[in-house]
Symmetry: C2
Subunit: 384 residues, 2 copies
């Protein structure tokens, strides 16, 4: 297996992009990444596309070949592969692209993620297709209500509060102010979060990531090829995908995301480093409780103590373990299939020193991308 | 890159399986494959699942993690990846699984394909999501009508007839009689095809593959591991995916499937053999014209002479280049995301000598799996 580096990143703005088509946002992100990598489109040998629900959002399946064509790459007949794993689709696409380069099959590969959600009405209903239709949704559960149960349980068992969760949202909004691609570039107050309407008690509108339009693209290359294109390659030291019981009810402990625990342990081992070596994190905050549970399951907090990290400010930009300098899913935006790629792009910018006013000084970064309530997790370690 | 072998195959029956659920058919195919390979489920290290449209057929995305769970593999947290490329989803899943083993990342990997289509009403409409929504479907085109245009053009340019196409359907039905998993195990006559109603002139109901329920599973292992489990490994000598312009209108020649041509050339080169070394083929006959165009684009017929192969009986079971001994998509059934895996499973059975009364004597076999009108193609070469 060869070492693999990120040589280019690009992304569209995230948000409600009513005036732009799916193709349009993907192409703009791709063009930015290709310019960033300083290469020609024709040098790309394969493409992996994370997309959750083109079939339902756009009535369009077979979307990877479509994107290859609209990127001008049909003329060179590259393989283009869509992968899907709920909101971990982007992370899984990145992993498959990584394998394609690490294995020696391809030298330069695109990992893209994209979702266009504003063209149909029932985005929340479609998001619920990432949970178990027969054993969860059929009985009235939604993605939000499952996370709400986890939040309730955490509050009951460990004494976390709605205010703790609110502070995660406030932090992510504060970070997003400095992210030109973010959907919500404005600060919000704890009071604003606490007074926003419940989506599924105790989770409120402002505990919940938006469902956004957006695309993000990363260009990967083998180490030797990467050196030709950039002086600031960011290496993917490891990227590990893992699974868990699909329905929440089948897990021994609903606060234990075993997919995340297993993937984190393996990712650190493959990257030959410890958690304390990681200086910056992007973690999947589909809801504020998701981010807090990830603190515990990744291991930057002990079990039942995620909220203490929040109270102590450790996860802030100036803290010991900064989480979501981009603004996270909550404030940068959650363009479902794009999210795993967007998270990795943020870490690449951070490690290259290109993150502007949200810059963290770090040698290594970690991304945690989660599908649904954790049936899929992708954890990756990056190094400059 | 290591050599990769098929050590087990399994499949559900194909057809209208009203009384069986998606999970049920996948698990039954998986169980058969695991028994065929003579291993324990726990030895499986990763899973790739080809599925076109779980989101629309079942309101269920994130389907790979769900299948991992229902296979009893959530307890070992394996990565499970859904890939989608229209009706080439299965072929792409097999290719990604192949890479995962060839690269050395995993030793034993499942490649599965599955589709459950009878639970909703608009299967044809969903199938049309494999063509371009903005530039084809919006203007009234359907998958059938695009292939009908190709058929018309071939008839006009090269003198093929509706009877030639009918004979392809008749051949595939004849072969399926000997396939216990086939949806239509009965012969039909040329007259029956010719008198069946038009779907899109000149294509008729009996020129068209059904849209079926079904699942197919293949277990892959590295060569050294494979030797421990079986005396009859079937090697994947190559598997190549390629793309073409998405919408038919953008191709220079609508009868030229460049994705197929490019993938075939590369697959033969990687497998270090010539087309004449291939003794048995499974080709994507979503419509009879699809199969006939594949003769030409794979190269077993010259351009414009696909119908001559039919007239001369070369593609029959006893012919020089037997195509679709399984019955093909037309008669074995087309469980969209399963098809690419099912085709490969048939070739594995053929090369192992386990194909019963439809047995062809061959050392090498080839599978051609196509997405939509050819925007994606996967071509693979197998050897006993």
């Amino acid at each position: 297996m060869r070492r693999v580096a990120i040589i280019g990143v690009g992304m569209s703005r995230f948000g409600e992009l009513w005036e732009r088509s799916f193709r349009d946002i993907v192409i703009s992100a791709g063009t930015e990444a290709i310019e960033d990598a300083n290469l020609e489109g024709r040098e790309i040998e394969a493409m992996y596309v994370g997309n959750m629900s083109g079939g339902r959002f756009l009535a369009q399946e077979h979307i990877a070949a479509l994107i290859a064509d609209y990127s001008g790459l049909a003329s060179i007949n590259i393989p283009s592969i869509r992968v899907e794993a709920g909101d971990a689709s982007g992370g899984v696409a990145l992993k498959e692209a990584y394998i394609a380069v690490a294995s020696g099959i391809h030298d330069i590969v695109i990992a893209a993620g994209a979702e266009k959600v504003t063209d149909v009405g029932s985005a929340m209903e479609i998001m619920n297709s990432s949970i178990d239709q027969e054993w969860e949704a059929f009985h009235g559960a939604t993605l939000a209500s499952l996370y709400a149960m986890m939040a309730r349980f955490h509050m009951h068992e460990y004494g976390s509060t709605e205010e703790d969760l609110a502070k995660i949202s406030v932090k992510n909004h504060r970070n997003a102010v400095h992210n030109p691609k973010a959907q919500f570039r404005r600060e919000i107050s704890v009071e604003a979060v606490l007074s926003s309407p419940y989506v599924a008690e105790p989770l409120k509108v402002l505990d919940s990531a938006p469902i956004s339009d957006g695309a993000s693209v990363i260009i990967l290359a083998s180490e030797d090829v990467a050196r030709k294109y950039t002086d600031t390659p960011v290496f993917i030291d490891s990227i590990v995908q893992s699974s868990d019981y699909f329905a929440l009810q089948n897990r021994e402990d609903v606060l234990e995301m075993r997919s995340v625990r297993v993937a984190t342990r393996k990712a650190l081992k493959l990257a030959r480093c410890e958690l304390r070596d990681i200086g910056v994190f992007e973690m999947h905050d589909s809801f504020t409780i998701t981010e807090m549970l990830l603190y515990e399951n990744v291991g930057i907090a002990e079990k039942g103590k995620g909220h203490e990290l929040v109270r102590e400010g450790e996860v802030e930009l100036g803290g010991r373990t900064p989480v979501n300098p981009s603004g996270g899913l909550k404030a940068c935006g959650h363009a479902v299939g794009a999210t795993g790629i967007r998270q990795a792009a943020e870490i690449a910018l951070q490690l290259r020193g290109d993150a502007g006013k949200r810059q963290v000084d770090a040698e290594r970064g970690m991304v945690v991308n989660v599908g649904g309530t954790g049936a899929t997790a992708v954890v990756s370690v990056f190094r400059r």
